[in-house]
């Protein structure tokens, strides 16, 4: 068990900020805002937060006027929006399978995207502020 924990710490430490290498599921919990963007958000919102277009679109987060509201950004990360999955820990459920981000991580990634990619909002959102917002009601049911 001790060995496993050490391995996880090593994996977290090696998670580089600007090259999205892989972080184990268990180590996701120690990623900071910038790392969360690079490892997770970037999958859809793309490098430089430029968004992408297909039959539908992923919004460009860069220079995004909606980001004036930190609650809008935090609620989106917590509960998802349209097809975007929720990342918040379901209310009244024990943490499981490391498939969620903590309130502190959500605060951190909200602060990161609101102060980068030509967004210049200075508000420093805290974990407590995120905790006070509605969280997802239940675990999602996964694939086959």
């Amino acid at each position: 068990m001790r060995i496993l924990i050490l391995l996880l710490i090593a994996a977290a430490a090696s998670a580089s900020a600007d090259s999205p290498s892989f972080t184990s599921r268990a180590a996701i919990g120690s990623l900071n805002g910038e790392q969360i963007y690079d490892h997770i958000c970037q999958g859809c919102h793309m490098s430089g937060a430029q968004g992408a277009v297909g039959a539908g679109a992923y919004p460009k987060l860069a220079a995004n006027k909606k980001f004036v509201s930190w609650e809008f950004v935090a609620l989106t990360v917590l509960n998802g929006r349209n097809g975007m999955p929720p990342f918040g820990q379901p209310a009244n459920q024990e943490p499981s399978r490391a498939t969620h981000l903590t309130d502190a991580q959500i605060a951190d990634v909200v602060n990161y995207v609101r102060s980068h990619f030509e967004n210049k909002y200075k508000t420093n959102v805290t974990a407590n502020q995120v905790a006070a917002l509605p969280h997802p009601a239940a675990e999602l049911i996964g694939p086959q």
Binding site: M1, L4, P20, S21, F22, T23, S24, R25, A26, I28, D38, H39, I40, C41, Q42, G43, C44, M46, S47, A52, V53, G54, A55, G56, A57, Y58, G80, R81, N82, G83, M84, P85, P86, E94, S96, R97, A98, T99, A137, A138, E139, L140, I141, G142, P143, Q144
Partner: protein
């Protein structure tokens, strides 16, 4: 004391979590199988739509399994049918990537599939359970040759990077040892009279005999190395013919090692209703079904059509679309009715005048991230060196699954396997990489199970479903909560518009969900059309 209890339960929880992360894929797999997909397909045989009003028309959005099933049946029933499809091919998520195919994901990165002739991967669905009667029906009707899909291969691996020195274990050994040890324990409990309250004396005798048979126990009800046990878990040296043919029995793994490895979580992988033998795959790739449907429907499908607006009024439904090849020119299509099978993340962004309830339902379903990576190797080493013919290896590594081809056994030349099938946060991380990085990472991880990867790797393709331009995700993820709030609103006809697709089913993520939801929706649309008479 309360305090003591709490710390005790916390450590148990931590232990279970740890097991969850060591044998992750198998555990999640099992959890998912038990989360409510075990419903028999409601497919009732060929649909019978009699008395279609003369001249009535239906516009279908999306040429995937749902859209093409509907188009096929509505055309037979006498409706005037037109289908608009975003891609330049039929099938939607029913899709096979073969050598020579090109695929451009959102963000603009293009992959050229360099597989040899006849080699392929199915980036989307890859198996059809025998009880998906709707899919079986259309495969037959379209003349699709089916091959067995080997869900369980006793000689494939269950692997944990944290157990047995990271050495993959054969499914056969894990299953035999787990079953044997559990049988021994239960026999012991029975003989120590621990079960007297729940099993009668007579039944205990039967139970003991059944445990001996089930677990390959010896005459003392012990699970120990023997010919009988080797006949389950395999021999140290297998029996043969002639001189030096005598077998050497193998030694079971100790119960403690087996329990702590977490590998037992992989044992029920073929026990879920959707995974039970027999399962099938179309010869030549899952995409054969979509392709055959496309040929069958021919000019009814207009490809490269991106829907930008859906409007209904008393006169019918008008859909505005752009040709993706020349997007400046907007065009429109009109019909009395509309069956919309557009995946919800896309549909949520298209202006459509439906009621608030359906609109809310469309926005309420997040779509799964999933990744599939196909790897071509210079030879079929999994067959030649490891005698694995088809089936799936499960691992706690981020690649989660390795799927071996269920066809072309012992053929010379190159081979393609599914190097990764990943979901959840791991899939999101792989999505954030370039396709080349994904392939490279998958080769790196997979080589921990098959060291031959390094020497034999040839080329690969990686499909990340969140970057699929036509669906923006793999499939809709419901919870019991969102089902209760939104499912009926999603499925109710709104004026002249009905929705269909796996997202409008209780067989989520399966093609059968798409087929049965389409049949259900057109049955109800038909009733409305008939009720409204000749001209809507």
């Amino acid at each position: 004391m309360e305090n003591g209890d709490r710390s005790n339960s916390l450590s148990r929880r931590q232990l279970l979590q740890m097991i969850g992360s060591t044998a992750g894929s198998a555990a999640m797999y099992q959890a998912m199988s038990s989360l409510g997909f075990a419903a028999e397909s409601p497919y009732q045989g060929p649909i019978d739509l009699q008395g279609a009003p003369k001249g009535a028309s239906v516009l279908i959005l999306g040429a995937g399994m749902a859209g093409m099933t509907a188009a096929y049946e509505l055309r037979s029933a006498g409706y005037k049918v037109q289908v608009l499809e975003y891609n330049g091919r039929p099938g939607g998520r029913n899709w096979t990537l073969r050598g020579g195919d090109r695929y451009t994901e959102m963000g603009g990165l293009t992959q050229q599939c360099e597989f040899d002739k006849d080699l392929y991967i199915n980036p989307g669905p890859w198996r059809i359970p025998y009880h998906h009667h709707g899919m079986m029906h259309y495969a037959k009707r379209l003349g699709i040759a089916l091959e067995p899909f080997l869900q369980v291969n006793y000689n494939a691996y269950i692997h944990s990077s944290q157990a047995f020195g990271g050495k993959p274990q054969r499914f056969r050994e894990v299953k035999a040892d787990y079953q044997g040890h559990v049988a021994e324990l239960l026999a012991k409990a029975t003989r120590q009279n621990s079960l007297d309250a729940s099993v009668t004396k007579e039944d205990q005798e039967i139970l003991l005999e059944s445990l001996r048979e089930w677990g390959a126990l010896d005459k003392n009800f012990a699970y120990v190395a023997s010919d009988a046990v080797s006949d389950r878990r395999g021999y140290e040296k297998s029996p043969g013919g002639g001189l030096s043919a005598k077998p050497i029995p193998s030694k079971p793994v100790a119960l403690r090692d087996l329990l702590e490895s977490g590998l037992w979580q992989g044992i029920p992988s073929g026990d879920a209703f959707d995974m039970q033998t027999a399962l099938f795959q179309p010869a030549g790739g899952m995409g054969r079904i979509g392709e055959a449907f496309g040929r069958e429907l021919g000019p009814l499908i207009r490809y490269n059509s991106k829907v930008i607006d859906i409007h209904q009024d008393a006169a019918g439904v008008t859909v505005t679309f752009a040709d993706t090849v020349s997007p400046e020119s907007k065009q429109s299509a009109h019909a009395d009715w509309c069956l919309c099978t557009i995946p919800l993340p896309v549909l949520a962004q298209i202006p459509m005048n439906v009621g608030q309830r359906m609109a809310a339902a469309i926005s309420a379903v997040p779509y799964a991230a999933a990744i599939k990576v196909g790897l071509q190797f210079k030879r079929r080493f999994w067959e030649e060196d490891e005698h694995i013919f088809g089936g799936i290896t499960y691992t706690d590594l981020p690649i989660m699954n390795i799927g071996y081809p269920n066809t072309g056994f012992q053929s010379g030349g190159k081979g393609v396997l599914l190097g990764a099938y990943i979901w959840g946060l791991s899939a999101m991380q792989f999505t954030a990489m370039t396709p080349q990085e994904r392939v490279q990472k998958v080769v790196e991880y997979g080589s921990q199970i098959h060291p031959q990867y390094h020497k034999e790797f040839d080329n690969g393709v990686a499909v990340a479903w969140h970057r699929a331009p036509f669906s923006l995700g793999c499939f809709g993820m419901w919870t019991s909560d969102t089902r209760a709030k939104h499912y009926e609103d999603l499925c109710q006809i709104d004026g002249r518009i009905a929705l269909a697709g796996e997202h409008a089913s209780y067989i989520g993520g399966w093609q059968e969900g798409a087929v049965t939801s389409a049949l259900d929706a057109i049955g109800r649309l038909h009733q409305r059309a008939v009720a409204q008479g000749a001209k809507a």
